[in-house]
């Protein structure tokens, strides 16, 4: 298959630390590709290598069949995790500047900047100095600056970080529109399950620099079953392991793990299994402090695959 971006056996070592360990990924043209993993999993390092900003220790990256170091500048637009803005320029001046840096002709630039400001709800702030914008507006401008030259590939590194719900909605709609209306290839890194689930066509789950799983969100969720999760906390957390051992023996329980002092029990039709679980609790003579039942999420997939919750 022809990939827009193809990374082969990508490795990055910092001294003894293996930040990225033999990553091989193919990203299709026109898809939103999610990199999901906790902070420090190697997501940013991976995409920095994939856009040619960081030299890999070993391995290769091809963009549309061309070595990333030789690819024409402007093919990729990158929206970094941190705000990278000129504090003393206005929104419009910043966008004009970046368009000039990508050699966008003035005739094309002016209507494009206008549309971008409009799409990202920044029209009213077009002539406002960046230092006077709110956090959400700065985030949106951060994104606009990455796409002002209409790159084929857009890389968004943790774009929702620190966004208010309104700005997040604007951002998500914009990302979908880039794929659906403009046919862009979008690479997204996030540690927010919901974001990866809602936006991505395919998701790569990475941890400790390694690719753990790569599939569509639906398939990933299916893989661990359609079940529910019972999230339980007992008063005496020192007895968590005893309870886990007992519950694991039950044939209706698919899996049981401890996450941050709480016990997560996954089972089909979990509500019907609650009496059985409570009996086990009573048998061990422990008290339930808190209990809830919820639907299986991508986070549970992550827990199932890594044996741990997302690290902050």
């Amino acid at each position: 298959m022809d990939f827009m971006i193809e990374a082969k056996d990508l490795t990055k070592k910092y001294g003894d630390l293996m930040a990225v360990d033999g990553l091989s990924i193919g990203i299709k043209k026109g898809e939103v590709f999610g990199f999901l993993g906790p902070n420090g999993a190697g997501k940013t390092t991976s995409i920095k290598m994939m856009v040619g900003l960081l030299r890999p220790t070993s391995g290769t990256v091809y963009i549309n069949g061309t070595d990333v170091q030789k690819v024409e500048k402007g093919t990729i637009g990158m929206c970094p995790q941190e705000l990278m803005l000129w504090e003393y320029l206005t929104c419009k001046e910043s966008l004009d500047l970046m368009a000039d840096m990508y050699e966008v002709p003035k005739k094309v630039r002016d209507p494009r900047v206008k549309k971008l400001l409009n799409d990202l709800f920044l029209v009213e702030k077009a002539d406002t100095i960046v230092s006077k914008l709110s956090g959400g507006m700065k985030r949106r401008l951060n994104l606009a600056l990455a796409v002002v030259h209409e790159p084929e590939v857009v890389v968004l590194d943790e774009p929702s970080e620190g966004l208010d719900p309104q700005s997040r909605r604007v951002l998500w709609n914009y990302i979908r529109a880039m794929r659906d209306k403009e046919g862009k290839t979008v690479i997204l890194t996030t540690h927010i399950m919901d974001e990866a689930d809602q936006l991505s066509d395919r998701i790569a789950i990475v941890d400790h620099g390694k690719l753990i799983r790569l599939d569509t969100p639906e398939n990933l969720k299916k893989e661990i079953g359609e079940g529910d999760v019972v999230d339980m906390k007992i008063s005496d957390t020192s007895r968590n392991q005893d309870l886990i051992n007992e519950l694991a023996k039950e044939k209706d329980v698919i899996s049981v793990v401890e996450i941050n002092g709480r016990i997560n029990i996954r089972a089909l039709n979990a509500v019907a299994k609650l009496p059985m679980m409570m009996q086990t609790v009573e048998r061990l003579d422990v008290q339930v402090a808190d209990i809830s039942v919820r639907q299986n999420t991508l986070e549970d997939v992550f827990i199932d695959l890594t044996g741990t919750g997302l690290r902050e």
């Binding site: 990158m78 990278m84 100095i129």
Partner: protein, 413 residues
């Protein structure tokens, strides 16, 4: 023309960052004021100036047919002059000697200045007298107009020379005036030229006159600290990363940045000149000398920005850049002689002898600015220093672009 967009961006940032701009412009003014108040009255004390007189005058035949030597007369006059405000103290300590010996005395700073009376000095004085008499009786003569040039030489980076030459030029003008007034009381025609750099003389040259151009050089050097911090901030804030993945080349970024900042350097020369004049700088230049000084300042600005690129190649954050900048800029300012002239240090390289401080572009900036603003020199006098400073600035710029591109604009490894 991406560098123009970068220049416009940098200019906007510069103007909008009021606090930064205030600091850049105000700090050197503050220094200038301190130096103005501290040294404004100094140098006007009544101590004799040590001068070496080389009298090459061959004498002439005067109207009565006798042989006279006005060179000897001038030498004697110089020896006899007392301070007008203190009649017991001589104005000059005169050593009459040969040219080569005078140069040695200059080098060891035994004398402050050397005065060479040319071979045709008496001829020109006689010509002055004859023509003055003729013009006072209504006749004109074009046959015997002889001019001569008295050369005053010395080390322009030595304050003693600055004071002595100012006094000498002033005195020589008086001497010529004296001859004419003695005959007719008319205005003199210029028959005897002086060339230090023939300036309208001032007898009250102070240390501040000597130091004010140094403050300008210090201000321009300080730009290196500010620009290094700004360049590092561009790295820190990540905006450089944005530019780096665009089609911008290192040249666009660095050349674009050079434009507004070198204009600031030019502006600083003007602002500081105005402040210095308000504080009593005895400046006798013209619009032309201001323009020349701005050009000299801009070249020094380019050198400072290049130094900033070198600093920004190694500093990890803007605070480090500011600290490293200060660590480099302040000693450099001392070495160039911005605050006071350092003793001359020579090195021998490839068979040529160099002043060790001459390797810095700002040393030449200082010499040129002092010549233009204080001694009133024109392009012909300062051209060599301006050209050398431009070449050194260019070398520094190339080094700066190379280092900054290598450390900041390539892919991380």
């Amino acid at each position: 023309m991406k560098f123009i967009s970068i220049a416009v961006k940098d200019f906007k940032e510069l103007v909008r960052d009021r606090r930064g701009l205030f600091f850049i412009l105000l700090f050197p003014i503050f220094f200038m004021m301190i130096f103005g108040f501290a040294f404004g009255g100094m140098g006007e004390n009544n101590t004799p100036h040590n001068i070496a007189v080389v009298n090459l005058d061959q004498g002439t035949i005067n109207s009565t047919g006798s042989n006279v030597n006005y060179g000897n007369n001038l030498t004697a006059e110089l020896q006899d002059q007392n301070y007008p405000q203190n009649n017991d103290v001589k104005l000059f300590n005169v050593t009459t000697t040969s040219d080569s010996n005078a140069k040695d005395l200059l080098r060891t700073r035994t004398v402050d200045a050397e005065l060479v009376i040319p071979a045709n000095f008496s001829d020109s004085v006689q010509s002055l007298i004859n023509n003055t008499i003729l013009s006072s009786t209504g006749q004109t003569s074009s046959a015997n107009k002889i001019t001569s040039t008295i050369t005053i030489s010395g080390d322009t980076s030595y304050i003693g020379f600055g004071v002595a030459q100012g006094t000498l030029v002033g005195y020589l003008s008086q001497y010529q005036q004296g001859i004419v007034t003695a005959i007719t009381g008319a205005q003199p025609v210029q028959y005897i030229n002086t060339s230090v750099q023939s300036i309208p003389g001032t007898t009250s040259f102070t240390e501040f006159d000597f130091l004010a151009p140094g403050m300008m050089v210090f201000a321009i050097l300080l730009l290196a600290t500010t620009v290094a911090a700004i360049l590092t901030r561009e790295v820190e804030s990540g905006t450089l990363l944005r530019l780096k993945i665009s089609k911008m080349r290192s040249f666009d970024l660095l050349f674009g940045g050079l434009i507004p900042w070198s204009l600031v350097a030019g502006a600083q020369v003007v602002i500081l000149l105005v402040v210095a004049i308000l504080l009593g700088l005895k400046w006798q230049g013209s619009v032309y000398s201001i323009l020349l000084a701005i050009v000299i300042g801009i070249i020094a600005g380019i050198a400072s920005i290049s130094l900033a690129m070198i600093i920004a190649s190694f500093a990890k954050n803007d605070r480090q850049a500011a600290n490293l900048g200060t660590l480099i800029v302040v000693p450099t300012a001392f070495i160039t002689g911005a605050f006071f002239p350092l003793p001359a240090e020579y090195v021998n390289l490839f068979g040529h002898t160099f002043q060790i401080y001459d390797i810095l572009p700002w040393t030449h900036t200082l010499t040129a600015l002092r010549s233009v603003l204080v001694y009133g020199s024109g392009w012909s006098v300062v051209s060599s220093d301006v050209i050398i400073s431009a070449v050194l600035a260019l070398i520094l710029f190339v080094i700066g672009v190379f280092l900054f591109s290598k450390t900041r604009l390539g892919a991380e490894s």
